[in-house]
């Protein structure tokens, strides 16, 4: 029995570590109905393309809150650089939406999309 534990405990520990390390890619997927980042970005893209700036601003606020929530669960399996770059993209997007700059806003949105794809990969 003792030998069994000596073999099993390290294996289980290593498997748990692998799970934590690869959690970034798994946990970034939506777990509920209101934590889908790509969907949120898509909604803002749609609003910006229609130049519905007040709608875009309110959806952006939602995205900002959502991103703060998702960071907490993806931080252990992701690289800090991608997390920071996505946060920067959202900050710049706020400026573009406030200035009602369609080209700038779309650039930031697609960049944010790319950072999201790279996160945890």
């Amino acid at each position: 029995m003792r030998k069994f534990f000596i073999i099993v405990i390290p294996i289980v520990t290593l498997l748990l570590f692998v799970l934590i390390m690869s959690s970034g890619n798994i946990l970034k997927r939506p777990l509920g109905e209101d934590d889908d980042i790509p969907k949120s970005i898509d909604n803002i893209i749609e609003a910006v393309e229609n130049e519905a700036w007040s709608e875009a601003a309110s959806k952006l606020q939602d995205l900002d809150k959502l991103w703060d929530k998702v960071i907490k669960r993806v931080q252990f399996g992701s690289e800090r650089d991608e997390i920071n770059k996505l946060s920067t993209s959202i900050a710049r997007l706020k400026g573009a939406v406030k200035a009602e700059d369609k080209a700038g806003a779309l650039m930031e949105l697609y960049e944010a999309y790319n950072h999201w794809d790279e996160l945890g990969n």
């Binding site: 290593l14 570590f17 934590i20 252990f76 800090r80 997390i83 945890g120």
Partner: protein, 242 residues
Amino acid sequence: MNEGLVVVVRAIISFFSLLIFARILGKEQISQLTFFDYILGITIGSIASEATVDLSSRVWPHFVGLVSWALLAYLMQYISLKWRYAAKVIEGEPVVVIMNGKIMDKVLKKMKFRISDILELLRNQGIFDLNEVDYAILEPNGSLSVLKKPEYLPLTPKDMNIEVKPTGISTELIYDGRLIEENLRQMNKDKKWLMNQLKKHGIKDVSEAFLVTLNDAGSLYVDKYNDNIKKVKDIGDYKGPY
């Protein structure tokens, strides 16, 4: 992102992965390490430390690096265990550097050892005169094994035809004020016998003893918590903070 918390989680992952891999790779003591084992240890340790604090990349690639190095080290160990020729190539072999009292200078040159290095290793073994050395062998781990000339070997009871009793190894009966009954049984003694012995040393209770050992020859070593030494000898050459 809570960087402190992420570093703590990564440290736990690296620490225990390293511990598991180190145990799988074997329990060699530092003094038995060859030069390559030493470098291997540094590299694996450095990968683990980077996995902990390098937040710019995920911990996964570092972990894969760690596993790869550990696997390669294990593979090398396995090959050298199964294949003697490979072991000689990978780990090196013992080399005779002093033979019949003569220094093998060509061998030293090949091993990239200076004579001063050999003299240092000899001094470490308490040999200050080369005339005393018959054979000296440089081991793969860098230590020097020395065989002295017969006339310089220490005198043993056998040389003098003196009969001696085997002492055996000491077994702990009391450790830090606690009785180890398992060891007592192993030595075929009981608590009553031990208490009688302890009484001779002025000990009434087991908790008064710091360490008590018994060897196969029946010799008892007793150390009390209360040593009755008023002034402890200070061997330091300068005044320290305490």
